[in-house]
Each structure stands twice: as C-alpha cells, then as structure tokens.
C-alpha cells in the first residue's frame, strides 16, 4: 500500500499554530506514520477565527482538533461531531504567577487576586467554576481582560495570568527566570476542576461511513503521538518540530516538549489519547450550569475511541 | 426659424434682484444675431436659460424650426489626455472631415493640433473649442464670448467664414465688441438693466458678409442706436 496513487487524501485541521504542543501531529506527518497507513494527510494550522468542527461539516477538513467546549457547543447546535481521542489528559490552560507573590493552596486564596481572564474564553468558564467552588464570583477578584500580549503580567499589574502551560507558560517562565524570578502554575485540575481540553474529532458521518479510514487515521496518529512522547525519540521530535516552528529556540522547544509530555502522558502507562468520559461529563455539567448550553447534549455518547473502530 | 420671448422674467434663487425683467422680443431666420449689453446685464443668464428652455416649460420662450440648441462659452476646456487634434478627430462625424479641415484652416489652428489644450494660448483655446461645436448637429448655436480672446482680425475672418459656411443655421453671438456686432449681425437684442426704465429692444445690424471698406455713416448710426438703447 505504499504506492502514492492509492493513498487517500485527508485534511486535518489543528486548533492553533504549529508548535511543540502538536509534536505528535507533526511527528506523524514527518515520520511517515500517515503514509504508512496509506493516507496522504495535509495538516493545517488553526486560529480563533477557524473552527475545525465547522470545517468538518463544510467538507474543508476530514479530521480536526477542537476543544471540549467547542464540541459541546456544536452538539448543542445540532452539529454531527464525534470525539476520537483526548490528546491532553490534563488541561494545559493554567494560570502563571510569580512564586514570591502568592501561594495558592486553597481556592479561597484566589479572593481579591488580580487576575487575567479571556472573556468568552475557556479560562473564564474554568475560573468561574473554581470561584464557585470556593463560594466566590468574578466580583470577588480583580479581573483584567486578556489580549494578545502579556504586558499586564510582565509589568506586574496582575498576579495571575492564563497561559497554555506547555507553550506560553514555558516561554514566560524562561523569560522571567532570566531576570531571576521564578514562577508557579495554578492548575485547576489540582482543585477538582477537570475541564477537558483539545481532542481529535471527526464528523459522525465519517465515523459511520468510513470506519476503516477513521481507524487508519486514528491509529497512525496515536502511534505517532506515542512515539513523539517517548523520551528516546526526543531528538528526532525536536528536529521535526523545529522544521515547522522556526521562531522558537531549541532549548525552549525542549522544555515545551517536556511540559507537553507531562500533560499528554502523565504516567508512562497512560495510553495517549485516552478518553475520560468522567471529565467530559464534568465539562458538560459545568457548561450547562453556566448557561452556555441550554439542555444536556450527552457528550459522553459522542465519544468513540480507537477500539470502537476495530 | 423663429425665436420668441414673451415676457421673460428671471432672478437667481436666493437673490432678490431681477436679472431679466419682462423681456419681449422675436428673432427670425437663420444668420448671425447678437445679444448685446453692458457687463452684468444678464446676457449669460439669458443664454443659459435659452439653451435649456425645454427643461423649464414655465418659461415664456417659444421657438419654431429650431431643433438642437447648443451653448458654447469661452471658458470651456478640452480634456487633457491627448492632443487637441485627436480630440477633434474623435468628435467629428465621419461625413464632416472636409468641413473640419476647412475650419482648422480658417481658424488657423493647423500648427497647434499636436499640442495639449493646456498648452494653447487663450485665443487658441477659444478657437479650438468653437470648432468642436461647429462640427456638431445644431440649429441654433449660442456663442457666449466664445471668441473673446482672439485678435480682431482673425475673429472677423472667422465670423465671415462661419456666416458663409453655416448660412442656414441660426447663431446668437454674445460679444462686447460693438463694432463687430453692429457690422456682422442681423438682429441685435440689446439688453438693459431692469433698474433702468428702458425696455430691452432689437436693433438691426448691418449683417455684412465681407470685410468691406467701412460704410462709416451707416455703421456709426447703428452703433449710436445700440449705445443709446441702454
């Protein structure tokens, strides 16, 4: 099945730009995992203005990466989407803070904090949930709107700033370390809020009509991720990532890869892509509670792991 | 061909003073007629009204045997993107090429056909503009100081030639040169300011068809008549 002519062409839409947090996706493409499965996959970068689930429906993409809240919202509006894998076992959306300024051991420590919130973003939902757990609301903290850059945090005007732990988090930690400041990350999961992050999705139609194709794609992708997360392959993975993410320095990428590994494969025996229905159920419950969806969408019924395509 | 005006009144909007008040006159037949009067009396205003009278049915202006009326004036310009010669070619109907050549000769514009309009002297601009109109279909052509910046000698030659070439058309010649008007025009409508008591009236001109040795007495009489009309 190596001959190019027989390969099936597929489009795979990421959530964000090429960087170390999609190391597995890059590795799959670079190391021929897809080709070996008889697939010719084009991976496309994403942005907030692009939405993998919409592209699935429009036929611009066959597979994609979407955050859990996107999936749940889409289901709420009648989109036909299924979840194939949950890339991050721990949500990389965390809050960075300087460790000499704060110690968060209990959620009530958040009271009165100056923190950044992306209005309308995941972090707002998560933070609201955390605050609710502590019996607080956004009015009990000082909120600064998050925008494209980090100046408010860098200039020390806010204490807690939301970042992606394994990309921006690493960069910021590095920048501050150079100035002799050390940082910590506030991880909501540590406080019982297990909000699912990015997952691999496809349309229900694809899952029903072409289970073989889904299986081929998914197993190639997960194999690639397994390989990419293997510390033994670190050099190759970094070289592959470097080809797509030229702007980031090597040692930063190395640190990012380490951080990614912790989030994707927290324990050596965790299978990459493992779907945790409980986390999904919690995510849906949170969104329902905050009025982001009007009625239950039963997202757990839309979860299909690799085994279901065997 | 007849042009008639029975009690025309006109004032610019937003202005109280009448520019034209109770104007009555009639002009007959083809040939060179004139509108004459002191600066600011309303010649241009009248000419523009006449040129567009069909759009203003309330005006007491009547014509018979006059189809197309064209109005030309001395500040008109030709577009600048090509030479004046090419512009003339473009607006000249196919069957009037000979007429065009003849007019260019009479108007002495041969040497400047290659120039842009903005490169012409004022008199050359006047002439170039007028030629365009003469090449069009018209029954009545109004010349509002259209040759004001041309020297007298050439202007007279042009007037005589136009009279001859377009003897079946009607012209309304507006000029400040009394001698010319008196000598070459048929009917001269002398406009007077509404504030004066004298009504506007028609004086008959000499309607010369060639540059003759001046028939001084009769010309003087006409000029005197015109000047005393306002």
């Amino acid at each position: 099945p190596d001959s190019r002519a027989e390969q099936i062409s597929l489009n795979y839409r990421l959530k964000w730009l090429f960087n170390t947090s999609v190391a597995g996706d890059i590795f799959a493409m670079e190391k021929g995992f897809f080709a070996a499965a008889g697939l010719d996959v084009t991976i496309k970068e994403g942005s907030p203005e692009k939405d993998a689930i919409k592209e699935l429906e429009l036929g611009y993409a066959d597979f994609g990466v979407a955050s859990a809240d996107q999936v749940i919202r889409a289901l709420d509006k009648g989109a036909d989407v299924v979840v194939l894998a949950q890339i991050f076992q721990t949500n990389p959306m965390q809050w960075i803070y300087r460790d000499d300024q704060l110690q968060i051991t209990r959620l009530s420590d958040l009271q009165g904090c100056r923190m950044g919130i992306t209005y309308g973003g995941n972090d707002e939902t998560i933070m609201k949930t955390l605050l609710a757990k502590a019996g607080l609301t956004l009015r009990d903290v000082q909120v600064t709107g998050v925008r494209f850059d980090f100046t408010p945090f860098l200039k020390n005007r806010v204490t807690l700033w939301p970042v992606y732990r394994n990309s921006q988090g690493v960069i910021l930690a590095g920048q501050l370390a150079r100035e002799g400041e050390s940082v910590r990350f506030f991880n909501p999961a540590d406080f019982g809020v297990d909000f699912v992050a990015n997952s691999v999705v496809t349309s229900g139609k694809m899952a029903a009509d072409h289970p073989d194709r889904v299986r081929q794609f998914l197993s190639a992708l997960l194999d690639a991720w397994e390989a990419a997360m293997d510390p033994a392959n670190q050099k190759q993975v970094l070289a592959a990532v470097k080809r797509y993410d030229k702007g980031t320095q090597g040692e930063v990428q190395k640190a990012q890869l380490d951080a990614t590994r912790d989030l994707v494969k927290p324990r050596p025996d965790t299978a990459v892509g493992r779907i945790r229905p409980k986390a999904w159920a919690q995510t849906e419950a949170i969104m329902l509670a905050q009025g982001m969806i009007k009625q239950p969408v039963h997202v757990t019924s839309r979860l299909r792991d690799l085994a279901s395509f065997q | 061909m007849r042009l008639e005006c029975s009690g025309l009144n006109f004032a610019y909007p937003e202005s109280e003073t009448m520019v034209i008040q109770d104007l009555w006159f009639a002009m007959d037949g083809p040939g060179f007629h004139a509108v004459f009067g002191p600066s600011g009396v309303g010649k241009t205003s009248f000419a523009k009204l006449l040129a567009n009278y069909r759009d203003r049915p309330e005006l007491p202006i009547q014509t018979s045997g006059i189809g197309t009326i064209l109005y030309s004036y001395n500040l008109e310009r030709l577009p600048g993107w090509s030479s004046t010669g090419r512009h003339l070619d473009r607006i000249c109907p196919a069957d009037r090429q000979d007429l065009k050549k003849e007019l260019i000769d009479i108007f002495q514009l041969g040497p400047v056909l290659g120039a842009r309009f903005s490169q012409l002297s004022m008199g050359q601009q006047n002439r170039m503009n007028l030629i365009r109109y003469l090449l069009q279909d018209f029954d009545l052509l109004i010349l509002d100081e259209s040759l004001a910046n041309v020297d007298e000698k050439l202007r007279q030659a042009i007037l005589l030639a136009v009279k001859e070439l377009f003897s079946h058309k009607m012209f309304l010649y507006i000029s400040h040169n009394l001698m010319e008007v008196a000598r070459f025009c048929k009917d001269i409508l002398v406009l007077t300011e509404p504030s004066r008591e004298k009504p506007s009236k028609i004086v008959s001109g000499q309607d010369d068809t060639r540059i003759s040795v001046l028939e001084k007495p009769s010309l003087d009489r006409i000029m005197l008549e015109v000047m005393s009309a306002f």
């Binding site: 429906e57 509006k77 209005y119 309308g120 | -």
Partner: protein, 255 residues
C-alpha cells in the same frame, strides 16, 4: 435621506442573510456553522438590547476618535504637503506607521499608554486617520493657481490661507471623505475593543467569536450597521449644510 439610508441598509443586510441561509440550506449545514433564522431571531431578541448599548458605547469612542483623526490628518497633511525634505519626512513617518498592523503595535502602545481608554482611542484614531490623510495630502498638495496667484504675487500667502483655499476648492471631496471615514472610525474602535477592552461591541464580538456564536455576531453586525447608517446619514446632512453655507456654489444652478 436618513430614512433611505436605514432601509437601504436593511435591504443589504437581508440580502446578506438570505445568501447565508441559502448556503445553509444548500449544504444542509447545522446551526453551529450557520445559525437558522429562528436561532438568529431568538439570539437577536435576547442580545439586541445589550448590543445596542454596546454599539452606542463604541460609537461614542468612535466619534471622539474620528475627531482626533480629522485633526491628525489635517495636521500631518498640512505639514506634509510640501515636497521639501521635511514634508517628505513627515509623509514617510505617517505612511510607515500605517503599514504596521495595529495588532503588532498594540503591545507597544499598551506598554507606553497603559490599557485604558487612551489606548483604545489611539488605536481607533490610528486606523481612521490614514485614509483621511491620503485625501488631505492629495488636496493640500495640489495648488489652485487661479486663486493663489494673487496672494503669492503680492506676498500675502500664509500657510493658513493656502490650506483654506485648497480645502475650500475641494470642499465636496473633503466632506465625502470625512463623512465616509465615520465607518473607519467605527471599525477602528471595534478593533481596539477587540484587542483590549472590556466594553463596547468589539468586546462582545470577541466573546461571540470565542464561543463560535455566529448568531450573536450577526446580531452585532446588524446593530453596527443600523447605528453606522444613522451616524453616516447625519454626517452627510451636516456636510451638505456646510457646503450650502460655506460653499454657496451656485455656479451650476442653470446649466
């Protein structure tokens, strides 16, 4: 005229919506990709009051920003109208600033000015001023010889007079551009709010965008359109009044 503007906008919007709905039907897309009419209406009913307040908030900043832009455009346009070294320097500066995407400059602006109202205003003005500047430069750089000759020959020409003459002779062009730039000011303010603010319709759009809520975006676009149409209509009427009063161009009344 104002009324006409509004219903014309309604027509445009309706056509736009119809195209979207046809695409939806044609490709049988879910409400997530393109919301159905009922969802849009529902969202509109829910959101429109709030969005209206947001748009008015945005509009107030936009008006201020437009004022600043007009000032800035004339300021730079007048300084940069000469083909001298200094004039060319000013133009180079003005042009270059424009070439930078505001998103790239935003961090620097925030560092220098903080992220309050001032930054928002500056960003709005920066987006709005440049097109104005181009027109002002075009007008200010072209001499009106027939009028200026006297003042130059008699040594009476001052830059104020030169500017006045050229502005006056191009009054209708300038009022067109100024009235038109209202939409730019609006767009600029929305972008500024989108980047950094917690108020205004730009902020609401960002939330809708993050939540993939196209119905909310469509509602916001409708609100923006209505308000812009009214504002623009008022500006145009003002422009006509200025022309009528200052200009009194009765030249072509008869012809």
């Amino acid at each position: 005229m104002l009324f006409r503007r509004i219903y014309q906008f309604m027509i445009v919007y309706a056509v736009f919506l119809a195209i979207l709905l046809v695409v939806k039907k044609g490709l049988s897309l879910s409400d997530y990709v393109i919301p159905g009419l009922s969802l849009i209406l529902e969202t509109a009913v829910q959101m429109s009051a709030g969005f209206f307040t947001d748009v008015m908030d945005t509009l107030s900043v936009a008006i201020l920003g437009q004022g600043i832009s007009i000032f800035l455009a004339f300021f730079v346009g007048i300084l940069g109208r000469k083909s001298s070294w200094a004039g060319s320097m000013i133009r180079v500066t003005a042009y270059n600033i424009q070439a930078y995407p505001i998103v790239a400059l935003a961090p620097i602006i925030f560092i220098l000015l903080g992220d309050g109202f001032l930054s928002r205003l500056l960003i709005a003005a920066m987006i709005c001023y440049f097109p104005l500047l181009l027109s002002v430069l075009g007008v200010m750089a072209a001499p009106v010889e027939d009028i200026e000759h006297f003042y130059i020959a008699t040594g009476r020409m001052r830059w104020q007079l030169e500017v006045k003459i050229r502005a006056f002779e191009n009054l209708s062009k300038l009022t067109t551009v100024i009235a038109g730039s209202a939409t730019l000011a609006m767009a600029g303010t929305i972008v500024a709010e989108f980047i950094a603010a917690n108020a205004g319709i730009g902020y609401s759009i960002r939330i809708a965008l993050y939540q993939s809520d196209l119905a909310a975006i469509l509602t916001a676009l409708f609100m923006i359109g209505i308000v812009i149409s009214v504002y623009q209509g008022i500006l145009e009427t003002l422009g006509e009044m200025v022309k009528a009063k200052w200009g009194s161009e009765n030249k072509g009344v008869l012809l």
